[in-house]
């Protein structure tokens, strides 16, 4: 395949130049500045900030809750996407539009709304209270908020993949003697697995970076319900820019490692297919 292909957009030189400039200005440059700010710290100073018990606690909550939220969204996002793709029912378009709402809502609004509902005396919270389940101001609340704001990513990643799973495939499997469960496990799931991973990645990435909605529902108790982005803000409020940068670098590294792993996993899956062909 030729590197330069005629297309409706202006020539390769111009578009490539723009791409590099754009990415550098709004992605690479700020990140470099972040790393630079952290690099000006002494190593022991850096380690003290990023491995303090409070920081370690916040990583656990931030990445743990994000992973949990992304997992929940992949499972229930699949059901949602399946319903929207496969069935015709009144109000389908409306529900489809509702999915995008968390995209558009200021995250603080989502946080406040969730707190209202799940607080001790909230609409749902008051029924959970007697059962001993506390949502607001616990890690559960954090997970809930992250699930809400990352849900559209999972659903929108899955929808096009599910559209591709034609009903004929299920019909074929059925005439060949497969039960529904077997068909799901052996035919549908493998077909949408790449999309599932993509959906997980997107939802996870979105959840890790979330700040606005979580701080309202989390209660922000150090070591317990304090997420890393909040800890960074706390450092900033104390004019400790270098400490904030140090935490930022750690988040950057962990996120990058997770995304890279998932990407490698997908690439490995694809390669396995190609290898099977030889």
């Amino acid at each position: 395949m030729s590197f330069r292909k005629p297309s409706v957009l202006p020539g390769f030189g111009l578009t490539f130049g723009f791409t590099t400039l754009f990415l550098s200005t709004i992605v690479l440059l700020p990140l470099a500045a972040l790393v630079l700010a952290a690099a000006s710290m002494h190593w022991s100073e850096f380690m003290a900030v990023v491995s303090s018990p409070r920081a370690l606690g916040s990583y656990r909550l931030s990445f743990g809750a994000s992973a949990l939220a992304a997992t929940i969204n992949v499972v229930f996002g699949f059901v949602l996407a399946w319903t929207l793709v496969r069935y015709e029912f009144p109000g389908r378009k409306l529900i489809d539009a509702l999915i995008d709402l968390p995209f558009a809502l200021p995250t603080a609004v989502s946080g406040i709304a969730l707190t209202t509902v799940f607080a001790q005396h909230g609409w749902i919270g008051r029924y959970l209270e007697p059962l001993g389940i506390k949502v607001a101001y616990t890690w559960l609340g954090v997970t809930l908020a992250l699930t809400l704001i990352s849900m559209p990513f999972a659903v929108r990643a899955l929808q096009p993949a599910l559209l591709e799973v034609q009903r004929d495939l299920e019909d074929a499997a059925e005439t060949l003697g497969a039960t529904r469960f077997y068909t799901f496990r052996r035919v549908i799931l493998p077909t949408v697995l790449p999309a599932l991973l993509t959906g997980f990645t997107l939802a996870f990435a979105r959840a890790v970076g979330e700040y606005g909605s979580v701080i309202f529902i989390a209660g922000n108790l150090p070591m317990k319900t304090e997420i890393t982005p909040l800890l960074i803000v706390i450092h900033l409020e104390q004019f400790d820019y270098r400490g904030a940068a140090a935490l930022g670098v750690v988040m950057l590294l962990i996120s990058f490692a997770v995304l890279l792993t998932i990407n490698l996993l997908q690439a490995w899956g694809r390669r396995r297919h190609v290898q099977a062909a030889h």
Binding site: D168, D171, E174, T175, L176, G177, V274, A276, A277, H278
Partner: protein
């Protein structure tokens, strides 16, 4: 019997997409379901496979009733138009899918897979992914996959639709060979008549959800029973002609039909002439008995082996006019195909005047040849001819609507009918006095009278009833003919023990119960007809077709 369908019916949104289909397919037979898109053939195939539940009727495979059995337990193999291979699996895994589901051991699976790959000529392709194969190869894999669990029946749903002509030909041959080698009963769905001819032991033709006819390709082609089959299966010139004891009168010629209709009385029939059965010559004398009329070559298309002519008939020139082309077009055209030897013996150019002859005429056994809108004034008759249901019916039957003015219509016994005999089904408007008019027409030789309210539309249900046993056969034949063109449910109304006056009232009550109903009623006794049918006919809001036979 391998596959037995008994009155299988399936509705979608109240419309029957498969309507009362009964069919037997023998062991090892290659049966092709042929029909235009939307005719219900694919739905019927899916019903056999068990992927679509039927609303009514029974399906049996090898004598086992499977009507309510899940698809995965039916033991059928299904091949789809778009291959539907599992894209994340290799060819080997695809083929072994049905065997894995059944927990067959790996060694046995491998042996079966290799046997199938040999069968579809894809040896050594085991480890390819579907994406690495051409369309034709993918469909071969799909066939192998469908055969892996040794199904008793192989179902093919337009399997060649997505392939180009050359691959199609090749794959057709492979499938036919595989089918013969395994002796497996096979049903193929297609809209391509050439494909049907090339593959079928027997063809079933579907339209509007109904299975119209089934039979060996040659029989269906040379002796179709319905207009639809005659025109759908190859090209056909369809005419309205007169049949009498002497034969079929076509223009100047009276030709013996391939099969004589049993009715020797002079009447109108629908005649089919295949394009290759038309002869053209310089003069009528060269054609001898078969000479029909003069014509002018309107169009000439050379298409390799055959030459196609479109010849405009010059009506009236040869005495008796050739009845209009069945679709009511003003100038009848004849489609003619000629082989190379024919072309060499008599060359024609566009615009040339030629004599036309007919070698073979086939008469359709359909009892409804055409319609004649009849009223006391020409204007009323003309208006009736444009009634929407009548126009739609005539268009679907590809027949014409004549206009007939009877000034004396319904005026006592004295008034004579016009000179000409009644031709086709006579149509009158449903209004006060319609019973009187219907009686008047029937007494003067009309055999079918259709009474139409001005606003009547296509019925959803057709009630069928005969008052006298003598009219039973004709009523059934006419009903069948109507139902071929109307996607409606047929309902036979049993004879009531009470007197006939009450029967008419009971029928009227049933018709009034729901909209969208039509009645076909057979009678053989015209005594006090108007009085007896008053309730049904005078101002009825339903279409009603009276079949009169003694």
């Amino acid at each position: 019997m391998s596959i037995t369908l008994d009155q299988v019916t399936k509705h979608y949104g109240g419309i029957p997409v498969v309507n009362d289909v009964s069919l037997d397919i023998g062991d090892g037979e290659f049966f092709v379901l042929l029909g235009p898109s939307g005719s219900g053939k694919s739905t019927l195939l899916r019903a056999i496979a068990g992927l679509t539940a039927v609303d009514h009727g029974r399906i049996a495979l090898h004598g086992r009733d499977v009507t309510h059995l899940a698809a995965r337990k039916r033991g059928v193999g299904l091949v789809f138009q778009n291959y539907s291979l599992f894209r994340h699996m290799t060819v080997a895994d695809n083929i072994e899918f049905a065997l894995r589901v059944r927990h067959v051991r790996a060694r046995v699976r491998r042996a079966r897979r290799q046997e199938l790959l040999r069968l579809v000529a894809l040896e050594g392709m085991d480890n390819r992914l579907p994406a690495q194969l051409s369309g034709g190869q993918q469909q071969r894999v799909a066939v192998a996959r469908a055969l892996a669990h040794k199904p008793e029946v192989l179902l093919l749903d337009e399997p060649f639709g997505a392939l180009d002509a050359k691959i199609r030909e090749e794959l057709r041959r492979t499938i036919r060979e595989v089918q013969r080698e395994l002796g497996i009963t096979t049903v193929l769905v297609t809209h391509d008549q050439e494909e049907a001819f090339a593959m079928a032991d027997r063809i079933g033709i579907m339209n509007l959800g109904r299975l119209l006819e089934s039979g060996a390709p040659h029989d269906l082609y040379s002796r179709p029973a319905t207009r639809f089959v005659a025109t759908f299966l190859g090209a056909a010139n369809v005419f309205l002609a007169r049949s009498s004891a002497a034969g079929i009168q076509l223009g100047a010629a009276t030709v013996a039909a391939a099969e004589r209709p049993p009715d020797t009385r002079e009447h109108e029939v629908v005649a089919v002439v295949r394009p290759e059965e038309v002869a053209v010559a310089a003069t009528g004398a060269e054609l001898g008995h078969g000479f029909v009329a003069q014509g002018v070559v309107d169009e000439l298309v050379f298409s390799g082996a055959l030459e196609r002519l479109r010849v405009r008939l010059e009506n009236g020139a040869a005495g008796t006019p050739l009845l209009a082309a069945a679709d009511g077009g003003a100038t009848p055209y004849l489609e003619v195909t000629r082989t190379q030897p024919e072309q060499r013996s008599f060359e024609v150019r566009a615009g040339q005047s030629v004599a036309i002859g007919v070698r073979r005429v086939h008469v359709l056994p359909t009892p409804l040849s055409s319609f004649a809108a009849c009223a006391a004034s020409a204007a009323d008759a003309e208006a009736l001819a444009h009634q929407p249901l009548l126009s739609e019916l005539a268009a679907r039957m590809k027949t014409r609507i004549a206009v007939r003015c009877e000034p004396q219509l319904g005026l006592g016994a004295a008034g004579p009918a016009g000179d000409a005999a009644f031709v086709g089904a006579t149509v009158i408007a449903s209004e006060t006095g319609a019973a009187q008019r219907a009686a008047w027409l029937l007494e003067r030789g009309a055999r079918e009278v259709l009474v139409l309210p001005a606003q009547a539309a296509m019925p959803q249900r057709v009630l069928i009833h005969w008052l006298d046993e003598a009219a039973r056969r004709a009523t059934l034949a006419v009903s069948e003919s109507v139902l071929r063109h109307v996607p409606a449910e047929a309902q036979y109304v049993g004879t009531l023990p009470a007197g006939t006056a009450e029967v008419a009232q009971d029928l009227a009550r049933r018709l009034a119960q729901a909209p969208g109903q039509m009645l076909i009623v057979g009678v053989s006794n015209l005594e006090r007809f108007a009085e007896r049918f008053h309730a049904l006919l005078d101002g009825g809001r339903w279409p009603l077709l009276i079949v009169y036979r003694t």
